[in-house]
Every structure is written in C-alpha cells, then in structure tokens.
C-alpha cells in the first residue's frame, strides 16, 4: 500500500518551532536510532512551550517514548544508540551537556510507579539530593518534602506515615510520590511517559488534575495512549506515526480540525 506516499503531500506542518511562542526547548531535526541505520524517530522538529502541557500521541511503536527519552538522554541507556540533529535547552545543545546535569534540569516520571523500595516516603522525595550527595539541613529537607508532597496532593494522605516505606502506598499514591520525587529537584521540564496507564480511573483523574495545576511552575511533556486524556489536559499535541512527527499544534485545533489525514484517522479511531 502506498499510503505513505499518498499522505506525504498532505503534511502541512513541517517545522513547527516557529509556531510555539517562547519555547523552552527546541527539538531540531532530531533522528534517533537504537543501532544500525534504522531510525526509531526521524527528522523531528518541534518547540516545546513554556509552562504548558504538551502531549505526544500516536500508535504503539511510533516512537513516542524514544522522542521523550531523547529529551533527557535516557535513551542512551541502550548501548548502541546514536542520533542526528539536536535538542536545545535555552541556547545549549543537550547532547553537549553532561547527561547528569541535564537530568537535573529535565526530570522524568515513568509508566509504572517506581519508588525506591528501600527508602521511606520521606527519603524517596529527597532521593535526588541524598543520592547525589547534596547535604541539606534537616529543616530544609522537611520543607522540600512537605512542599513537594503538597504539590502532588499527597501530603494529607501520608503526613503521619512519612517514615514508612513508599512501596506500601497504593499505585496511584506511588505514582504521585514519584512525581513529587521529580519535582523536589525543581527541574525546568518534567517528562512523563504514560504515567497513568497502570492506574485506575480515580487515580488517573487525580494525576490529571495535578498536572494541570503543576504547569504554572513547570513545563510538562506527556506521552499518552489515551486521546481523551490528551484532549482534557494538554495545550499542545503532537501526533507521531512510524517515527515521524506528522502533526503538531494546539490541542483544540488538532482535535477539531486535524490537518493531516492520518491524524484524523487516528483521532477517529480508524487505527491505533
């Protein structure tokens, strides 16, 4: 089927960096390969808007996680990765930064809640400081823990059990704890890879509310399988297909008048 070719002419947005006012992060013609000359994502260009939620959508295997991980270089955990193009945070190419420093500016939350099982709730929140050997006064720690847990609306639920293991919490609470752990470090950007796909609807809606609140302090990039979630909470949406960024724009506009046929078919449930 020459679908690929058929749709090629329809692609309207090719370099949407200009479409985003004051982007904090610029993805510039980025291609990522896990080895060999097969690219998991190809020639992706996009600006990420400050203090907004940007959703990345697309069918399974289209490269959502790869794109997200390329933003804080977590994809480099796999041994044979290489990439072309760049990602700019401010004026710095993140591929020229030290990945350790980069990850302090760009935090990440994963699909499955992954609190550190040997640590208490308290220690999980300040793990970023403790594990990096950053010494804080007791009062500073207390303050960070309380502030972060309040931000994820977990404080009232756990304030009497701060020194219990984080793994005894429910899945939704664990995920909020993981978000608090990422926030505690006050990164500029938080990346979330399907953070609610392992959670029930109530826990999911709590996290969605939370993300909407958090965007006043943080820039959020969210991978989601769930179109209605993207529609509910995101300001901007990307639609990816077969490693390519097919369409990128304001979420409202994309859901009402998609510019590309493939986006439309995906959004109307014809594939995905």
């Amino acid at each position: 089927m020459p679908t690929e070719q058929k749709y090629k002419e329809n692609v309207v947005i090719k370099n949407p960096i200009e479409n985003i006012e004051s982007p904090v992060l610029k993805i510039d013609d980025l291609s990522v390969s896990y080895g060999g000359d097969k690219y998991a994502i190809q020639n992706v260009s996009a600006g990420i808007a400050k203090n907004k939620i940007t959703a990345i959508m697309g069918p399974s295997g289209c490269g959502k996680s790869t794109l997200l991980r390329a933003i804080n270089r977590m994809h480099e955990l796999y041994p044979n990765t290489h990439n072309k193009g760049g990602v700019y945070l401010g004026n710095e190419n993140i591929y020229e930064l030290n990945p350790i420093q980069l990850r302090r500016k760009i935090g990440m939350v994963f699909q499955r809640p992954n609190p550190f099982p040997t640590m208490s709730i308290y220690d999980n929140v300040i793990a970023g400081f403790n594990l990096n050997g950053i010494r804080l006064k007791r009062s500073e720690k207390d303050e960070i823990v309380e502030k972060s847990l309040r931000e994820v609306a977990l404080w009232d639920e756990v304030k009497d059990a701060l020194h219990n293991r984080g793994t005894f919490l429910s899945g939704g609470q664990q995920q909020r704890l993981c978000i608090a752990r990422a926030l505690a470090y006050t990164p500029d950007i938080i990346l979330l890879d399907e953070p609610t796909s392992a959670l029930d609807p109530i826990a999911t809606s709590k996290i969605e509310d939370l993300l909407v609140k958090l965007k006043k302090d943080f820039t959020i990039v969210l991978v989601t399988h769930n179109m209605s979630q993207a529609a509910r909470i995101s300001d901007y949406s990307m639609f990816m297909y077969l490693g390519e960024l097919v369409e990128y724009g304001k979420t409202k506009q994309m859901f009402t008048t998609p510019k590309d046929k493939r986006t439309e078919e995906y959004l109307t449930g014809k594939f995905g």
């Binding site: 977590m74 994963f110 499955r112 992954n114 550190f116 970023g128 990422a182």
Partner: protein
C-alpha cells in the same frame, strides 16, 4: 438419581482417597528425609553433652596424657576447643573479608552485563570453581601461600583456600538477586541525575541486600565445616594462635585430630555438636534474613 452421576460420585470418592494417600505418603517421605538430621543431633547430644562446660569454650585442647588420666578415672576430659574456635573465627573471617567484596563485585558485574562475552566467560569459570574438589583448593592454598608467602603452614593460606571455595555462592546469589530487580528502579535513579556508580552502590545493592546476605551466610556456613583444604594449609595447632602467618587450628581440624587419638576420642562428639549447631545456626539466620529483610518492589 441417574446412573451417570452415581458413577461419577464413586469415581470422585476414589480420587479423593487417592489424593489423600498421595499427600500422606509425601508427608511421610518428607519426614523421613528429616530423620537423619535428628538422629545425628540426638547421637551427638547424648554422647557429647558431658563435655560441654565453660572450659569447653575457653580452654585449649587437652594433650593426650591428661586425657588418658581423665578417661582412666572415669572423669570428663579437661580442656576444650578454644584453639579451634579462635582459629575457625580467624580463618573464616579472613576468607570472608577476601571473598565477600570480590564476590559481590563479580556478581554485580555479571548482572549488569548479562549478555556480554567476558561476563559469559566469568560465569563459566565461577561455575567450574563450584565443582573443584575442596582438597584441590587446599593444594592451591599450599602452592600460592604456604610455599611462597608464609614460608610454612598458616591461617592465611587456609583463608585463601576457603575464600575461593565460598566465592561461587556469593557471586551467583548476588547475580541472581540483582537480575530480579526491575530495571525501572535504575531508570528512576538515573533520571534524577545520579551517576551510574552511585546508582549501583546506593540503589541497586541495598535493594538486593537480603538475597546477597543470604548467599554470603550460606557461603560462610559452607566453608566453616571444611577440613580437607585446611589440612594442607592451616595444618592445626595445639594452642590459641592469632598470628595469621602461623599454623592455626580450626574446629573441623580438631575433630579430625580427636578421631586420630584414642585417648581424645570422647571429645569428638562435643566438638562435632558445636560445629553442627554453628552451621545450623548460620543456615537458620540466612533464612531469617531472607525473610525479614526482603525488599518488596
């Protein structure tokens, strides 16, 4: 009631009966396999309890004349196994000091580089090591340490031989434990900007601590009762010796010496009982740690 249900009822009863018989046979066989341990413990306790007094733990092994006099007067043999206890503590302690860090590092490497070629080679060597007869390790200790390093039999040589012996259990338990830890934990730490070596030291190893410790204790219990490698290395000593470059006694060596001296034969039981209880205790504590410190992820 029709015929078919009647038949299936009867069949059902038969099956339940078979089930019951099978279960009971299994319980019986399981019980049987436990019998030898209790018989051994009983035997040792009956024959050895008379020797178990304070002196048994704090006095050196008696010489054959003292023992002969005591036996002739139908008294308990004076003296104890203090030289063996101290020797065992030193030799096993030193062996642990060598093998534990080495084994954990090696096991961590294997878990972290599971598919690598070099890791495959290391894994193969460790497996081979597991099968080396203990007397051969004694020969190794002799060649490596007794001759070139300590110029004579020594506790150090015994430790080296035993450290090789306990290495495989630590390496494999570390590797198996770490492989079970979900990769998402490592990702969580790396995404906080934690450098790789700190991720291993502060997140991965602490998470696997119960499995690693269990392997360590089982390794210790495995070497604590070894005699053969020590015969060619530590040799034995009639006095308490804390110098690791000198020959040293050990509890299993003492059992062997008691066996070879007709006047001291009565000391075998108490010394064996001590050794057995020590090793049982180690195994039980390994089980307790595995259960109590288990990290839930």
């Amino acid at each position: 009631m029709n015929i078919s249900t009647e038949i299936s009822d009867r069949k059902m009863k038969q099956r339940l009966l078979k089930d019951k018989i099978f279960t009971n046979v299994m319980i019986f066989l399981a019980f049987l396999s436990g019998v030898p341990l209790f018989l051994i413990l009983y035997q040792l306790a009956i024959k050895g309890y008379r020797q178990l007094n304070i002196g048994f733990f704090f006095e050196e092994a008696p010489d054959t004349m003292e023992a002969m006099v005591a036996v002739a007067n139908n008294e308990i043999i004076p003296g104890g196994i203090a030289n063996g206890i101290v020797g065992t503590l030193i030799i096993v302690g030193l062996a642990s000091l060598i093998a534990i860090p080495l084994g954990i590092i090696c096991g961590t490497y294997l878990a972290e580089n599971a598919g690598g070629k070099f890791a495959g080679l290391v894994r193969f060597i460790v497996d081979m090591l597991q099968g080396v007869p203990s007397i051969v390790l004694g020969v190794i200790g002799y060649i490596w340490i007794v001759k070139p390093v300590t110029n004579g039999f020594s506790a150090l040589a015994g430790s080296v031989a035993l450290s090789i012996m306990m290495l495989p259990s630590i390496v494999r338990s570390t590797e198996e434990t770490l492989k079970m830890i979900p990769g998402t934990l490592k990702e969580a730490a790396l995404s906080l900007g934690v450098p790789y070596h700190k991720v291993i030291l502060k997140v991965i190893l602490p998470t696997g601590i119960s499995g690693i410790l269990t392997g360590v204790i089982l390794g210790i219990s495995r070497i604590a009762g070894e005699t053969a490698p020590l015969m060619l290395t530590a040799l034995g000593s009639t006095v308490v010796n804390t110098n690791i470059t000198e020959p040293s006694s050990a509890v299993p060596l003492l059992v062997w010496e008691f066996y070879n001296d007709p006047n001291l034969v009565n000391m075998i039981w108490s010394a064996s009982l001590f050794l057995l209880l020590l090793i049982l205790g180690l195994n039980l504590s390994a089980k307790a740690i595995a259960k109590k410190w288990k990290v839930q992820y």
